[in-house]
Amino acid sequence: MPKVSMTVNGELVSKMVEGRTLLVDFLRDTLKLTGTHIGCDTSQCGACVVHMDGSAVKSCTTLALACQGAEIMTIEGLADGETLHPMQTAFNDHHGLQCGYCTPGMIMTAVDMVKRLGVPDEETIRAELEGNICRCTGYHNIVKAIAAGAEAMNKSNG
């Protein structure tokens, strides 16, 4: 089996994997980082979104071996110790989740969106959520949470 090395949430990891191992399986099964979810496994739902070298990707549609040398950030890497990331706080405050299954992917997508677009308006947020499916919330509170999280992130950046 070939070996892959990458940085996950700031820590360098090196492991043996099969060619076909997907990034999401590497994170969940090998590293036991089960915050990243598998919803559809067909590239549709966005539950598996993580950041690869700073941009949002679907980890169910990325090979672990293609991440050789990459920096990966998962939902587990977002909080600063006990202090939640402003986007996590916003999802909590605005009731942006019900069962929570889609939430890690929603939050990783939201953080990526804000990094690229600053404080997006409602229409932009809805368009940017094209690749993230939620079966529970009807999206309204997710959109509100992202708008609030965007404000908070931009404030904390000065």
């Binding site: 060619g19 076909r20 590239s43 941009s55 949002a56 990707v57 090979l63 293609a66 050789q68 094209e130």
Partner: protein, 264 residues
């Protein structure tokens, strides 16, 4: 997905050599089409050759009146490139309409063109602009390159290195998305360069991307929405499926053609 040997060569020559040695090998770019296909076991390559470590395959460059885009350039980079926005805004718009943000962060122009999905967006731009597809072996015009449903003139072991778009005077892309998959139900790219008008349609043809010569003739007389007032599209040869009948798509193609001309 069945297991395979994974390769990540640093040069085109090495990539071509691996393809030549392994008959069942396949290239992977962004993987946004290949991996879903392999999961469904519609493809089961013995070897997968990742193009991402080869330098010089991605990037955007304006050379005179030609826009050159490396095969490994991601949809996101085309959509947001200042150079593309200024030189060929219709292409930036098109790239920004592909899939969703995470797909655009991985998917590449080379992968999209090589795959020639009948509902993919880039083939319409290539055909309407008569782009040149450059490979490690030769150059082909879009007219020569797209040969049918999921079919291209690419030979075994041939690797796309870049796509070159001659800059049009006017161009626009109008896409009617399937609301669930976000692929085109009908996408029409129109362009005018000198006297030549080209109209290419994706998402609707049962044989893949095609040129709507009838609209081209109408528009070469006068490039305006008015010139299309008698345009009706024949449903014969169009896709009819659970998402819409051939007649419905024929109407969509006419409407999208008018919208694209109005926006160009």
């Amino acid at each position: 997905m069945y297991d395979f040997n994974f390769h990540r060569p640093k040069s085109l020559r090495k990539a071509a050599a691996i393809l030549a040695e392994n008959e069942e090998a396949k290239l992977i770019a962004g993987g946004q089409t290949l991996l879903p296909t392999m999961k469904q076991r519609l493809a089961a390559p013995s070897d997968v050759v990742d193009l991402s470590a080869i330098s010089g395959l991605s990037g955007i460059e304006l050379k005179g009146r030609k826009l050159q885009i490396g095969a490994m350039t991601k949809h996101y980079d085309v959509a947001t490139s200042q150079v593309v926005r200024e030189a060929l805004p219709a292409l930036a718009d098109l790239a920004g309409m592909i899939g969703d943000p995470a797909v655009r962060n991985r998917g590449t122009i080379g992968g999209s063109v090589a795959n020639n999905d009948p509902a993919a967006d880039y083939p319409a731009a290539c055909l309407a602009l008569n782009a040149t597809i450059v490979t490690n072996k030769r150059r082909m015009t879009a007219d020569e390159f797209f040969t049918g449903l999921f079919d291209t003139a690419l030979e075994e072991g041939e690797i796309i290195t870049k796509v070159i778009f001659p800059l049009p005077k006017r161009a626009a892309y109008a896409k009617f998305r399937n609301p669930a998959s976000r692929y085109a139900m009908a996408g029409v790219f129109v362009s005018k360069r000198g006297r030549e008008v080209r109209v290419a349609v994706t998402g609707a043809g049962s044989d893949g991307v095609f040129r709507l010569t009838q609209a081209e003739e109408m528009l070469s007389k006068r490039f305006s929405e008015k010139a299309l007032k008698d345009l009706t599209v024949d449903p014969d040869g169009l896709v009819g499926d659970i998402h819409g009948s051939a007649e419905y798509r024929a109407n969509l193609v006419a409407v999208m053609t008018r919208r694209a001309v109005a926006a160009a």
